[in-house]
């Protein structure tokens, strides 16, 4: 039995904004199936009443002092952008023609 289908991989790639090719879909579906079959063993562990660990350091609510500190200048922040217009990040259109 397969753990994951080619269609599911296509759907996940779309959710992750990856425009994968048909050849990649074939390959990834097969490889991800092997990986998922291998990691499914995790379900064998009886852990219902075990608290999850999201993090190894037992620190919570770490705040710095509420004092202004200098950040990046606008010029520095925009310097690596693929496209800039009027001191802002320029992006392709977000809404469709009819929206």
């Amino acid at each position: 039995m397969t753990a994951i289908s080619r269609d599911e991989v296509a759907h996940l790639a779309h959710l992750a904004r990856l425009d994968v090719t048909e050849a990649e879909l074939d390959r990834f579906a097969q490889q991800l199936d092997v990986i998922l079959q291998s990691v499914q063993r995790i379900g064998e562990v009886a852990a219902d009443d075990i608290p999850p660990t999201s993090h190894a350091v037992p620190l919570t609510n770490v705040y710095r002092a509420d004092e202004p500190v200098p950040g990046l200048s606008r010029e520095a922040a925009l310097a690596g952008a693929p496209d800039v217009a009027e001191d802002r990040f320029r992006v392709p259109r977000i809404l469709g023609e009819e929206e």
Binding site: H14, A16, R27, Q31, S38, I42, G43, R64, G80
Partner: protein
């Protein structure tokens, strides 16, 4: 010869005025020039910047100003750590040409310590891999055998140190990316306690696991570099506000070669299934050497360690799928297909498709799956619970022993292409290193011997914030080797490809 000296020896010679920092830096830059065409450890070399720092150290010394313990000793930095004004790519096409506007905290500390930064080293793209074959800019070759992998993800840093192109390097370890390259290149790799070294300025892969640390030829050198970069950083909310463990003192103590009264646990579940016999034989010889130094060896059981690999390959891809969402073609890096006809979403998808390599895509898809509604409890949630159980296994073991030991990796350096077609075979390289990432505890890999002519490593795992224990044991083992493995690396300058 300068390039054969350890970092500790170089620092001493510079402080005593026997060598200038500039001469030392030039020697390593010349070495890079001579052999990196064969090894390809570096993605970017900054000769000018390194020499400027070196000259400043020499001027400071001449003026009688106090020098730090590694002042003037050059260092290479893994190219996933941001460096102001120096290209930083994470070995990905999506960041090709990007120049960061700020320094990572650990880079700022290298600079404050007067350490010339030689350049940026190669890695598996976004640190995802165990062979450096997933770099978008070509493989790095193992100086011991140029037809074999140098480990990964930090193969560039390990190969640079092994081939004498840098006395020290910075790595990052999410599942073994400092320790496994150390083992297969005959160098020392240290993964500090998670939170012991700052993540500020690391390009995030798996935020709850990523840990920067030292790569060196000796335990003492690694400890000295550890002390330069470690310590609380208010810019990292997971940074531990406690003093740095005394690792260089521990390395010096270990070098005296006496482990009387030290109890070491061998993990029963790391009994060698799938490990290469020659690697296990080298490890066994190391265990015997530790016994001769007076260590007491006991077997301990860590029953959940066998689930560490599955837990890791759910947690790390989940966090990666979230972290790498920032590569959206808007604020930095690549943008593809923005010809006026495509929407933002179409440009984003085309950019990510063009900019990410195969392993990164696989992990993003895997993580997206493990976090999807309907699967999140079964996969990500269950992996987090198993993470708790693995941490408890460590705690139970450390109630009985001072440190745990194991081989660092199940197999020595393999040939290019041997594990790329089946990703799971690649993942097995990190079988023994992953538990410490999940628990957050420190671990070091120290060269232990040769397995059929290729280096093998022994891993020492210690309790959280007891990095000093790992350094002491590692340095003691190192003291039994004459010459040290790191001093036996074949000279790549003479080798044919």
């Amino acid at each position: 010869m300068i390039i054969h000296k350890t970092a500790a020896e170089l620092a001493e010679a510079i402080a005593a005025g026997e060598l200038t920092a500039e001469a030392v830096t030039r020697a390593f830059l010349d070495r890079i020039e001579a052999v990196d065409g064969r090894v390809h450890a570096f993605l970017h070399v900054d000769a000018e910047g390194a020499l400027a720092t070196a000259r400043q150290v020499d001027a400071d010394r001449a003026a009688g100003r106090a020098l730090g313990p590694l002042a003037g000793v050059p260092v290479a930095v893994k190219d996933i750590v941001v460096t102001k004004g120096l290209p930083t790519t994470a070995a990905s096409k999506i960041l090709e040409g990007w120049i960061p506007p700020y320094d990572a905290t650990i880079v700022a500390r290298l600079k404050a310590a007067g350490m010339p930064i030689l350049g940026k080293t190669n890695l598996d793209e976004f640190a995802m891999g165990s062979s450096t074959e997933y770099s978008a800019f070509g493989v790095t070759r193992n100086p011991w055998d140029l037809n074999r992998i140098p480990g990964g993800s930090g193969g560039g840093s390990a190969a640079a140190v092994a081939a004498r192109m840098a006395p020290l390097a910075i790595g990052t370890d999410t599942g073994g990316s400092i320790r496994q390259p150390g083992a297969v290149t005959g160098t020392v790799g240290g993964k500090p306690t998670y939170g012991g070294t700052s993540r500020y300025g690391l390009i995030a892969f798996s935020s709850s696991l990523d840990t920067p640390g030292p790569v060196a030829r000796t335990m003492l050198d690694a400890a000295l570099l550890h002390e330069v970069i470690a310590g609380h950083d208010p810019r990292d909310s997971t940074s531990i506000p406690q003093p740095v463990p005394p690792v260089s003192a521990a390395a010096r103590q270990g070098a005296e070669g006496d482990l009387t009264g030290v109890r070491l646990g061998m993990v029963r579940e790391f009994g060698g299934d799938g490990a290469e016999p020659a690697v296990l034989a080298a490890y066994q010889a190391g265990v015997e050497a530790l016994v001769k130094l007076g260590a007491e060896i006991v077997e301990v059981s860590c029953p959940h360690f066998e689930y560490a690999l599955p837990a890791y390959y759910l947690i790390a891809p989940s966090e990666c799928s979230s972290n790498l969402a920032r590569f959206d073609s808007v604020r930095y890096g690549l943008r593809v297909g923005d010809d006026g006809s495509r929407s933002l979403e179409e440009v984003m998808s085309a950019t990510r498709e063009a900019g990410f390599g195969p392993e990164v895509k696989r992990r993003i898809i895997l993580g997206t799956y493990a976090l999807s509604s309907g699967y999140v409890d079964e996969y990500y949630g269950q992996a987090q619970k198993v993470r708790t159980l693995i941490t408890r296994d460590f705690e139970a073991a450390f109630a009985k022993v001072d440190a745990l030991i194991s081989p660092t990796t199940p197999f020595a350096a393999f040939e290019f292409g041997a594990r790329t077609s089946d990703p799971y075979q690649m993942y097995l390289a990190d079988l023994y290193t992953i538990p410490s990432n999940l628990s957050g505890g420190p671990a070091v890999s120290v060269p232990v011997g040769l397995a059929d002519g290729l280096p093998a490593g022994l891993q020492v795992m210690a309790p959280t914030m007891r990095d000093d224990v790992a350094y002491r044991v590692g340095a003691a083992l190192e003291s039994t080797q004459e010459p040290r493995l790191a001093d036996q690396v074949p000279d790549v300058a003479d080798k044919e490809l």
